[in-house]
């Protein structure tokens, strides 16, 4: 996400806020995966991390990258790209992947994504259910989409994403 883009989004949000006063809205942390913007409901987000040392877990599903130590708690790292059927990210020499730690069912999971954007407050009126033609893999982990200015944000269904891993096993 370029700097110009980010600025624009922030302005947009402030504009929204005035209108939103009586309207219902939700907060999302935006993330970028393979050029697509995703939103994670802010209440589910616990932490945003840079890249940490991950211990591989043998025999775990391929989507599970391993586990890591987050201030004394063990967090399971999930490669969201793999969940979405995308190719692994090719990183430049100084680039590092980011991850978003979410709390699900009393356990912490670290969702490895490409990069983290801003927090957006989005009005419910901009929400739409998944387009009928959406890729099946994506549909399974998407709650719906928001129409933003010039972009579409897919809402990531975190519990469903984790649950699908559970069943995979």
């Amino acid at each position: 996400m370029s700097a110009a883009n980010t600025d624009k989004v922030v302005v947009d949000t402030t504009l929204f806020r005035h209108q939103v006063a009586e309207q219902k809205s939700k907060d999302f942390l935006t993330v970028e995966i393979g050029g697509q913007m995703f939103g994670i409901p802010i209440l589910q987000v616990q932490d945003v991390l840079g890249e940490l040392k991950v211990t591989r877990i043998p025999l775990a599903p391929p989507q599970v990258s391993g586990s890591l130590n987050l201030r004394g708690r063990i967090v399971t790292a999930i490669d969201v790209r793999k969940c979405l059927g995308l190719k692994p990210l090719e990183l430049g020499p100084n680039e590092r992947r980011m991850s978003v730690v979410v709390n699900y069912d009393e356990e912490l999971y670290s969702l490895i994504i490409d990069s983290v954007g801003d927090v957006l407050t989005l009005p419910d009126k901009d929400f739409e259910t998944n387009p009928a033609t959406l890729d099946v893999t994506w549909k399974a982990v998407s709650l719906g989409v928001y129409r933003l200015h010039g972009r579409i944000m897919v809402v990531l269904d975190v519990p469903k994403l984790l649950l699908s891993l559970h069943q995979l096993n």
Binding site: K53, V54, T55, R56, I57, P58, L59, A60, P61, V64, G66, S67, L68, N69, G72, I74, T76, D105, E107, Y109, L162, L165, H166, N169
Partner: protein, 888 residues
């Protein structure tokens, strides 16, 4: 003071303290039903407990007060301040009595007549003007008697004053309480705190759990710091870190202690369960519990409570027979279940033993086939131990009827799962007709585990130290090398083949291997791991040190991977997976069948008469070399023939301060003086005999297999030893010829001839010989072997019983009578109590042969009674008895 009483005091004092505040509320709001119920419950509890603890005075007061409270509670007596005072007075009396018990361990002298009289009066509604009203509408709500207090007041006050003798205070809660206590107790008056109550503190489990988690984190942080300090030894932090290290260790221990509870807490209900069970099933069962004080982590305690209860029930229901059955089986009417707990190397062992009927091997075998757990053919091959293991399989129950107690088939597998869940193991030993023993091994705590850190394909893993037996470094170039059977690696560990599992392959850490296994397994470590009875080796690349780790459960999405029991954070901050030895054992195909079975086969083979005997080879006179079982010989001496004296026509030697008879082995030997001759000394029970021979040739391990029967006296027959024809010497013949008092001489004809034919006829008869004297065992074994029997000799009844309990088969049992740990009569009784052995001929062998002894012998279950040195009678009796057995 009794622990129970201390606990009772603590608890009661706590409840009373709570009531103190509530009582003031009661005064303000006399009709507070909840409060009345609370006091009622307390009185009720005190009453009940006192009866149990044997505190009659306290019990009476509590009982009467409870009566009155009961009326309040039911609403047919209105709570007036006067009554409240009366209740308060009762509470104070209870308090006074409690304090006395606490200080002196007993109830004080004196009686509570005054108080009881009042309480009874109120309970029965006597002596009160209010009575008619209450009686008129006993079930009516409280309102009916609302107007009564007026006239009743003075009287009650009077009553009260008789209690509150000293002060005569108005019926206000606190002062009355104080005054009464002062009056009755005569000192130490106020409702002060009890000292026993102060010694312990009730803490919410949540607080302790939290504390434990925090200590665990502290342990981890300490580990991290220590790791850093290790790399930088000159650092100023090293000394304070050491101190921190100790403090943390102590803290960890201290916090662990708060979680420790005596295992007796989990057992408290068991006597009751057994009592109910014995009534329901009409059995007589004694439950004997030892080691109640053994402490273990509360969390573990909670986990084993149910499995234990279940197993005790099983023992009572399936194990112990009805009194009639027991009497029939020759056991005491009352069955015994013994529950034992003790510490053993970081573990708690719980043993549950019953002397009931044991596991029905055949029934289980049928069930295995019926449930499709094994084919008929497979099942037939299983040893009883292997069969027994199936009771731990899911959905297995052999109880024909599902009683309310057990037999639903969800039993033992759940028990095992629960025990394994907490890192424990369960083993079992059962003998049909004799009872079963279960061994449960559980870790002291679940929270912190000592683990070995290993590496495979560059990844580190932790393996609980408890499962690790030993470490072996292997190199394909040395003796210690890994061998392959198809693609399965194995390792020779002390004469046994240890199945190996490569951690790398198991966890699929790398792709396909192209190099040969020799290259792959060059310089590896084998971690010899034991799960239950099953041992296997885990191949890893590297072994690091051990670390105390705090086990954290794996994420839910990884729960299905059986190979990990959890994960943790190491000292360096990295996350590490903890391997689950049980899971690995399961995945690698071992279904937990015990190795014991194999061991038993081995023992049985050892027992077989094919086993070799050490023979001493010598020459004497003319003829071939001779052999005598080495074990019969007490000593070998070289004796100068000059020393041999002749007295009373016997050759005697002064030997170790007494006279020992000497016999030349052959008449044609050169016995001239000045010749040194080897002397074989035979000794038993303080008596000895020397046999002079010409030359000791050798000692050889050979199996005695008489090829040609002996024709001379003193020779069993001939066999081949070391490629030479050798005479096997009948030592008994020589011994008989000298010690008239020791060895009686009977008959001269060769005893071998008529029994010998059996030998050719295929399977020989198996005889179990029980005698504590190694001398007689060694003497009789060759004698009987020579007569064509297969002999298994054991040194005592306990060993013999062990054999009879196993799947051993004997055609006859020959037993000595005089034996140290159990005499032959008792042994016979025990043998006869086992169904399988009821028809097996038993022969008593003894030097005692009075008619009483013989009668006693027959009563105990012996079929024949033979004097010990009467070898011909022995042999003919054996052959006759066996023949009779065949006809029958």
């Amino acid at each position: 003071m009794d622990d129970l009483i201390v606990e009772f005091l603590t608890e009661t004092n706590e409840s009373l303290m709570e009531l103190d505040t509530d009582l003031i509320k009661l005064e303000q709001n006399p009709n507070d039903k909840d409060l009345i119920s609370k006091i009622f419950r307390l009185m009720h509890t005190i009453k009940g407990t006192c009866g149990f603890l044997g505190l009659p005075r306290l019990e009476t007061v509590a009982h009467r007060a409870e009566n009155v409270m009961g009326r309040f509670r039911d609403g047919n007596l209105e709570v007036t301040p006067e009554y409240v005072s009366l209740i308060l007075a009762s509470l104070d009396r209870v308090r006074y009595l409690l304090r006395h018990i606490e200080e002196n361990g007993t109830e004080p002298e004196g009686s509570d007549e005054d108080l009881i009289a009042q309480l009874d009066a109120v309970y029965e509604g006597r002596d009160m003007p209010a009575k008619p009203q209450v009686a008129a509408a006993p079930a009516a709500p409280v309102v009916a008697s609302a107007s009564a207090p007026g006239p009743a007041e003075p009287e009650l006050k009077a009553q009260e004053e008789s209690v509150v003798t000293a002060s005569g205070t108005p019926p206000v809660a606190a002062p009355v309480a104080a005054a009464t206590a002062a009056a009755v107790g005569g000192g130490g008056g106020d409702a002060g705190e009890s000292s026993v109550a102060n010694q312990s503190l009730r803490v919410n489990m949540g607080v302790l759990e939290n504390l434990m988690t925090m200590v665990s984190e502290l342990v981890l942080t300490r580990n991290q710091l220590l790791q850093i300090a290790r790399n930088d030894k000159d650092n100023n932090f090293v000394a304070p870190l050491q101190r921190l290290n100790h403090v943390v260790s102590d803290l960890q221990e201290g916090v662990m202690k708060t979680r420790m509870q005596p295992i007796g807490n989990a057992w408290a209900k068991l006597p009751r369960i057994i009592r109910d069970l014995s009534i329901e099933l009409g059995k007589k069962i004694d439950l004997i519990m030892t080691g109640q004080d053994t402490e273990l982590d509360r969390q573990v305690l909670d986990m084993i409570k149910d499995p234990l209860t279940h197993m005790i029930r099983n023992s009572g229901d399936h194990g112990i027979e009805t009194p009639a059955e027991r009497v029939k089986a020759g056991k005491p009417e009352t069955g015994k279940i013994i529950l034992r707990a003790y510490h053993e190397g970081g573990h708690i062992i719980i043993e549950i033993t019953d002397d009931g009927k044991g596991l029905p091997t055949e029934k289980i075998r049928q069930k295995i086939i019926k449930n499709g757990l094994a084919s008929e053919e497979e099942a037939a091959k299983l040893s009883p131990q292997q069969i027994h293991q199936y009771i731990f399989a899911a959905g297995f129950s052999t109880a024909e009827k599902v009683t309310s107690v057990s037999g639903r088939g969800v039993g033992m597998d759940v028990v095992r799962t629960n025990i394994e869940k907490i890192g424990g193991s369960i083993e079992m030993k059962s003998t049909e007709g004799k009872g079963s023993t279960f061994y449960i091994k559980i870790p002291l705590t679940l929270a912190i585990v000592s683990s070995l850190i290993v590496e495979s394909a560059g990844e580190k893993f932790a393996i609980p130290q408890l499962a690790v037996r030993e470490l072996v470094l292997v190199s394909q170039k040395s003796e210690n090398r890994i061998e392959m059977i198809k693609h399965t690696p194995v390792f020779r560990l002390r004469e046994k083949l240890l199945p190996l599992v490569s951690l790398e392959d198991l966890l699929k850490l790398t792709g396909e291997h192209t190099e040969s296994f020799e290259e792959r397994f060059e310089h590896k470590y084998i971690i010899v791991t034991q799960v239950g009875n099953y041992s296997f080796g885990l191949i890893v690349d590297q072994v690091f040190d051990t670390e105390e780790i705090v086990v954290k459960p794996v994420a839910k999405i990884l729960k299905d991977i059986d190979l990990f029991s959890g994960n943790t954070i190491l000292g360096d901050g990295s996350v590490i997976m903890i391997l689950d030895p049980g899971g690995i054992a399961k995945v690698t195909g071992e279904n937990n069948l015990s190795d014991n079975a194999q061991d038993n086969v081995e023992t049985a083979q050892k027992l077989s008469s094919d086993s070799k005997t050490s023979l001493l080879l010598f020459t004497a006179g003319n003829g071939s070399q001779k052999a005598v079982p080495l074990s019969l010989i007490a000593r070998l001496e070289n004796v100068d023939m000059k020393m041999v004296e002749v007295s009373d026509d016997r050759m005697l030697l002064q030997y170790r301060g007494s006279l020992m008879p000497i016999i030349p082995f052959a008449p044609d030997m050169d016995l001239s003086p000045d010749v040194l001759k080897p002397l074989l000394v035979f000794a038993d029970r303080g008596k000895s005999v020397g046999i002079i021979v010409d030359e000791i040739v050798d000692i050889r391990e050979e199996s005695i297999d008489i090829q040609i029967d002996g024709r001379r006296k003193g020779v069993f027959g001939s066999t081949i030893v070391g490629g030479k024809a050798t005479e096997i010497v009948d030592v008994m013949h020589f011994l008989n010829s000298v010690h008239g008092d020791w060895f009686k001489d009977h008959g001269d004809e060769s005893f071998l001839v008529h029994d010998k034919k059996k030998k050719g006829g295929g399977s020989s008869k198996r005889i179990l010989l029980v005698d504590d004297s190694p001398f007689f065992r060694n003497m009789l074994t060759p004698l009987l072997t020579a007569a064509g029997y297969e002999v298994i000799a054991v040194d005592g009844p306990s060993k013999a019983l062990e054999l009879t309990e196993r799947e051993e088969n004997f055609d006859m049992i020959i037993s000595d009578i005089e034996m140290p740990d159990m005499n032959g009569y008792d042994f016979a009784t025990r043998v006869r109590s086992i169904e399988k052995w009821q028809k097996t001929p038993m022969v008593a062998l003894t030097s005692h042969a009075t008619p009483e002894d013989i009668d006693h012998g027959y009563e105990s279950g012996f079929d024949e009674y033979i004097a010990k040195f009467d070898r011909d009678t022995l042999l003919s009796t054996i052959s006759k008895t066996l023949a009779r057995g065949n006809e029958a």
